[in-house]
Symmetry: C2
Subunit: 114 residues, 2 copies
């Protein structure tokens, strides 16, 4: 999987469903900020701009967190004009790892958020 600087208009790199690896998904989820992103994306609207999240970290760190989530297969991202919109790959994750995402989201509700 190649990583290139992303510019509006160029498709962003995503693993196919078959390329998604359990340990990479777990690594992507193993961070409080990334868990917050995933938890927010699990609620409507299905697609959100990175700037919607207001994480208490720098813009470059925010970008890093979204890239880790995208490259592991947890989220997909697409440009709409100049905005990079993110959504959860729930169908892929539920098909590959049944129950995993739901148990993590439920654990976030109990232990991590707000």
């Amino acid at each position: 999987m190649k990583t290139q600087p992303s510019t509006p208009g160029r498709p962003l790199e995503h693993p196919s469903r078959g390329e998604i690896r359990l340990e990479e998904v777990l690594h992507a989820l193993a961070d409080p900020q990334r868990l917050r992103i995933v938890h927010t994306l699990a609620e409507p609207p299905a697609e959100r701009s990175c700037s919607d999240f207001g994480l208490p970290v720098s813009k470059s760190t925010t970008t890093h967190h979204f890239r880790v989530l995208r490259e592991s297969g947890v989220i997909s991202q697409v440009y709409r004009g100049t905005a990079k919109m993110s959504s959860l790959r729930r169908d892929d994750l539920d098909a590959l790892f049944p129950g995993l995402l739901d148990s993590v989201l439920s654990a976030c509700d109990r232990h991590l958020l707000p």
Copy 2:
């Protein structure tokens, strides 16, 4: 949580149930060797020596993996004579994060092992 070199006879440091953090558990599970250890510990016998696992890594790397699992609260370890015996903290994990361990073990069955 302090980390000290472990010697037979001295109790090993473990987080209490209330100190176990979701993101640290996910981090501990985000490694193929550690997933193998957890998957093996989920089957009888409930307690195993580190040397039972025969991981394809050095002894110091094996020790590191067990320490990450113990310090995150995924496993407990105790000395029996000179053998360090490990077991899964299933009750704690199931109480804190219902469904998480089962979904990860099931995903291991499908995607990671043998």
